[in-house]
């Protein structure tokens, strides 16, 4: 626990750690302010099809909708912000030479790497929660609360969630988003144990995420058949918590697949790091 605390102190003493938070704050603030100023246009675009046939009243463009909207828009970009820290977690010690001070201490390499991994997961969770809290708090301030009307995942339709059940669903969705991002963080972490600088792991992780996303979404049968085997397919499983009814089985399997990925990636990182010769 002491090691985790030290890693946390180190991580949060670096300005790099705050890039992610700053970028998220900037994006969320700008997006929500622009959405507030363009509320009429957004509502028109959102509802133009429905308004032909339905009379719609109530606060459709509310804080919950804005949160879901931003979350949905950012799920490609957050991994990049996560890799900034996760990809630097181990490699920065090699770059700065502090690895030579760190690994000659009594705690084993496995404990040190585990502490670093846990800190990476803390950071990941912190970043996603920060996004969530900022979206919701600012969203509620600017747009107020209300029921959530969103696109039904994966098939045609819309879904209506009552305001009372949204906080719990959102909490679960953010937990799921954290879980997904932990897999991305695990990739960056593994690459970080292999590299001696942080650029490689950051670019490497993003390359993996983007390539997998492209492969999984390429409109050819061959690529479609690969989709179930790509972890990126499951990264957005947080959205399932906004489905009605909640597809627990799908969520469970997606969470298990991503969890296994994370564990496997960490175990590889652990194995690599425990045997690694420190030559730098």
């Amino acid at each position: 626990m002491k090691l985790v605390w030290f890693e946390t102190v180190k991580t949060f003493s670096r300005w790099r750690t705050y890039i992610g938070f700053s970028v998220i704050a900037l994006i969320v603030i700008i997006t929500e302010v622009v959405m507030r100023l363009s509320a009429d246009e957004i509502l028109y675009r959102m509802l133009r099809s429905l308004e032909k046939d339905f009379l719609i009243s109530g606060n459709v463009l509310n804080g919950w909708f804005v949160t879901a909207f931003i979350m949905n828009s950012l799920h490609i970009h957050i991994p990049f912000l996560i890799t900034l820290v996760a990809g630097d977690m181990v490699s920065s010690e090699a770059t700065s030479g502090t690895v030579r001070l760190l690994l000659i201490r009594p705690p084993s390499r496995s404990r040190i790497i585990a502490a670093k991994y846990i800190t990476t997961l803390f950071y990941t969770a912190g970043l996603v929660l920060f996004l969530g809290l900022l979206c919701i708090l600012l969203g509620m301030t600017l747009f107020g609360s209300g029921d959530l009307i969103i696109h039904h995942y994966g098939r045609f339709g819309i879904i209506y969630l009552e305001e009372a059940e949204i906080p719990v669903r959102m909490l679960l969705a953010f937990m799921a988003a954290i879980w997904s991002m932990m897999t991305v963080a695990s990739i960056a972490f593994l690459l970080s144990t292999l590299a001696e600088n942080s650029v490689g792991p950051i670019i490497g992780t993003m390359a993996v995420v983007v390539v997998f996303l492209v492969i999984g979404n390429f409109p050819l049968d061959f690529f479609r058949s690969l989709k179930p085997y790509l972890f990126t397919t499951y990264l957005t499983f947080w959205q399932r918590f906004l489905d009605d009814p909640i597809p627990w089985q799908q969520i469970g399997s997606a969470a298990a697949i991503l969890g296994l990925h994370s564990i496997l990636l960490f175990l590889i990182a652990l194995g690599v790091y425990s045997r690694k010769d420190i030559k730098s």
Binding site: K2, F6, L101, R105, P107, S108
Partner: protein
């Protein structure tokens, strides 16, 4: 000699070897460091000193051989053994974005619980107390080196391993580090293992030494033993000069090699240099200079086949 043999061996390597690809960086290294030694590991650049130290400090995995510390196998008792050891490998690199205090707190606490006053005391010992809360980013190389020693001291180790501790320092910085090493050895009874390619450094601080070249151990013993196997030459300046010359002519264990205008070259039997000095002084000779030739350098050049870097 007997006393040394009776002293506890705090570090022993047995057939320690490390191969990178086809190249042996260290081969069959057998070292013994006794409690209380200032043990100098001497060798030219690329001789394998750092590789050996990295293996001793678990940064590199040996290809073969074993390491014992305090009578225990290092890899089987890693935590226990390393809690009694500390070191600096190459240059001391710290978390530049943290203060000296925070660096010590983090690094020290990995070995044991450290109190705030202990950190400040150690910083005082290495002369960095006034900079305790400044970020290490603002420190000079010498200050980082001292901070490196501070982090080693903070863990209250029985054995400190320093890899080229004076590299990159100016003469004043080198002197400070040397004095610090000697002080630690005397005042805190710590065993110090340091590597260097600087002969002058070894001469000035070491009690025991080992010489390594091309990954292989060439010699290992006390400095006096190793040097004692060779005759030792000195340059002597004394007054009155002729009286001094006459007196030495009567000593069987001193041979005058050459005589200049105001100095003479003399060869003294191993270990007799202090005696000669004492003899001259008690006979009313004022000794203004009595300096050894760089015998260690000679020795080193001999055992390494002339590949010395000084």
């Amino acid at each position: 000699m007997e006393e040394i043999l009776q002293r506890e061996i705090v570090l022993r390597t047995l057939g320690l070897s490390k191969r990178f690809g086809k190249r042996w960086a260290v081969r069959n290294l057998n070292l013994e460091v006794h409690r209380g030694d200032i043990f100098c590991f001497l060798g030219p650049n690329g001789a394998g000193k750092s590789t050996a130290i990295r293996m001793i400090l678990t940064l590199l995995r040996p290809t073969s051989g074993s390491i014992e510390m305090f009578g225990k196998d290092l890899h089987q008792n890693r935590q226990d053994v390393l809690s009694r050891v500390c070191g600096i490998v190459e240059k001391p690199d710290f978390y530049l974005y943290l203060s000296a205090y925070k660096n010590l707190q983090i690094l020290g606490s990995m070995n044991r619980s450290v109190r705030s006053d202990e950190i400040m005391e150690i910083l005082d010992v290495v002369g960095l107390k006034s900079r305790a809360f400044e970020k290490v980013r603002t420190f000079s190389h010498g200050m980082k080196q001292r901070l490196g020693i501070a982090q080693a001291l903070l863990t209250q180790p029985e054995l400190i391993i320093l890899d080229e501790p004076t590299t990159g320092l100016d003469p004043q910085g080198m002197k400070e580090i040397r004095e610090l090493i000697k002080r630690l050895s005397h005042e805190r009874s710590m065993t110090i293992f340091l590597s260097s390619h600087l002969l002058s450094e070894v001469e000035l601080v070491a009690t025991r030494m080992a010489v390594i070249n091309k990954g292989e151990l060439l010699a290992q013993d006390t400095v006096s033993e190793l040097l004692g196997k060779e005759a030792t030459d000195y340059t002597l300046q004394a007054f009155p000069f002729h009286s001094a010359l006459e007196l030495m002519g009567s000593l069987t264990w001193v041979k005058v090699l050459s005589v200049g205008n105001d100095a003479m070259e003399v060869r003294v039997e191993p270990g007799q240099a202090p005696e000669l000095n004492k003899y001259l002084v008690t006979h009313g000779i004022s000794v203004s200079s009595f300096s050894p030739h760089r015998s260690l350098e000679d020795f080193f050049l001999k055992v390494t086949g002339g590949k010395s870097e000084i």
